[in-house]
Assembly symmetry: C2
Homo-oligomer: 106 residues x 2
DNA sequence: CAGTATCCCCACTGATACTG
DNA sequence: CAGTATCAGTGGGGATACTG
């Protein structure tokens, strides 16, 4: 059954911030740690670092360290990460659909 | 920004079991409470009931009580719930893609 | 059959402080 | 700048028992 696939996706995308992080990487393509912090004000450094590590471990984001002082680290989607975009888009489309049906229905 | 949409989706689909439940309703169309229990052995009654209430409250699943003894309650996707299917499919496709790229890559 | 009601735990998350 | 270390709290979720 395809339920295995569901579990896979769930395991990889679970976590309060991952989809939000992916969304920002999706629309801006390359972001530094501090830029992600600014983009998602509610997230703590610890959580940002942790979720980025998870996403990196799962092969969804690419972490690039530029050997400089001060340090510069950039995050971008990997190839397979890019391919998540259509699915995230479908989710957003559905959200829009739902919102309009909610408004139209009253 | 479309980030609002992300938050919406997150709020509605959050919870360890919702997407799994939706997947089963998606493939079987109508299921009784006990059928969902069998389909998702790892879920507890409490969680199943709770997540179904959430999904019902958010207008994604339709709960139908048949006045009988013993009780019979059926769950199905609403109209807007049905429209989530393409997005879930995209997620599953991505999972398959990812799995094959993982296998092929070694 | 289809749920509630209770109790309880620990994993996720946050806040703060520190560092290469 | 880009993290790690440490401590502490909360509530999401599990186990069990009970009910219309």
């Amino acid at each position: 059954m395809a339920a295995d696939g569901v579990e896979e996706v769930l395991a990889v995308l679970e976590g309060r911030w991952k989809i939000l992080i992916l969304f920002h990487l999706f629309s801006r393509s390359v972001l530094r740690f501090s830029e992600l912090e600014k983009a998602i004000p509610a997230i703590s450094q610890k959580m940002l670092a942790q979720q980025l590590r998870d996403l990196e471990r799962d092969g969804i984001v690419q972490r690039t360290v530029h050997p400089q002082v001060p340090p510069k680290v950039e995050y971008a989607l990997t190839d397979i990460g890019q391919k998540l975009c259509p699915a995230l888009d479908a989710l957003l489309e559905w959200a829009a659909l739902r919102k309009s049906s909610l408004d139209g229905g009253r």
